[in-house]
């Protein structure tokens, strides 16, 4: 039988967090938001660069899935952090596609996502909510077709 030890540990962080001083929650939130905002230009630039990296990487069905997945995941995170929610959703759809056994090897489906991501970064499409919704609906159909076992989108 396995031996089990249960105890209530002294967690150093707990005592540090509760020390006198520090910053108010409001102040922490506004400082963090201000700090993140200083990164906007470089992170949004990175989103565009990573879309093109995916386009270059997925040349045929033998592309490196983990590498493309990492790029899609980063686009999802960066776009989501900086309020590019449609771009983030499209990248999430690509992650779902790449997470499925059937969809992961379909370079054509990856390129549909690349085109959608490029379109959603276009100011004309980005400012037209109907057009953006159509692009995302199209992606949902692609992902549904190939990635039956993928998790539901957000």
């Amino acid at each position: 039988m396995s031996r089990i030890r249960k105890y209530r540990p002294d967690v150093r962080l707990r005592s540090l967090l509760n020390r006198p001083g520090g910053v108010s929650i409001e102040q922490a939130l506004s400082e963090a938001a201000r700090g993140i905002e200083t990164l906007r230009a470089q992170c949004v630039g990175a989103v565009d660069a990573k879309i093109e990296e995916i386009a270059a990487a997925a040349i045929d069905d033998t592309y490196c899935v983990p590498a493309v997945y990492a790029l899609a995941d980063e686009i999802f995170v960066l776009a989501g952090t900086f309020g590019l929610s449609d771009v983030s959703r499209a990248a999430y759809s690509l992650c779902a596609l790449l997470s499925s056994d059937e969809g992961a090897r379909k370079a054509a489906a990856v390129h549909v996502h690349v085109d959608a991501l490029r379109a959603l970064r276009n100011p004309v499409v980005a400012s037209d909510s109907l057009a953006a919704a159509k692009v995302l609906d199209g992606l949902a159909n692609v992902t549904k077709r190939y990635a039956k076992d993928a998790a539901p989108g957000r």
Partner: protein, 198 residues
Amino acid sequence: MTHPVQQKINLSLASVLVIDNSQHVLDILTQVMKGMGAQDIHRCTTVADASQFLAQTPADLIVIDPTLKDEDGYEFIRSVRRSSSSTQRVAPIISMSGYSTAATVARARDCGANFFVAKPITPKVLIDRLIFIGRDNRQFIEVEGGYCGPDRRFKFEGPPPGSLGRRAEDKAPVGDASAPNMSQDEVDFMIKPQRVQL
């Protein structure tokens, strides 16, 4: 989670280790931690760097995306939980991932992470988790050859919906005594198995 007015958070003396493949994500996390007053922030893009860092310097808080490219971040969490340093072993670990499924969350929990946070990163969510850590009084569980980490049961949720629960009848009043108290011999006879000569 709503925060009481005037509630404060103090990370000024904490050593924070953030691990993610992406420099951009590390930049964002650094800004969130700085906002909370952290000054001692260590950034690593690989498990190897993080392990090397922890071998020399303890961290009070670890924030990691375990779905690292070419590396097993989950194994890193397990190794921290089996650390020979008792302080390091119990340090809070926040696991975060972009594309998250139920399996991703369960895997992080079963490796010993305190919390799972879905990216994109929002300062509010991270601050909420840290405040929770400040109040969290869960037991730490160490199973020989098995799970090591905080108790995975967060709360007592009561019996399943629609049922009274197995112990519901225990709460019924037992009523007045209907006979004199039993003697100690009678009690012993009922509960002590004894060797007898037949």
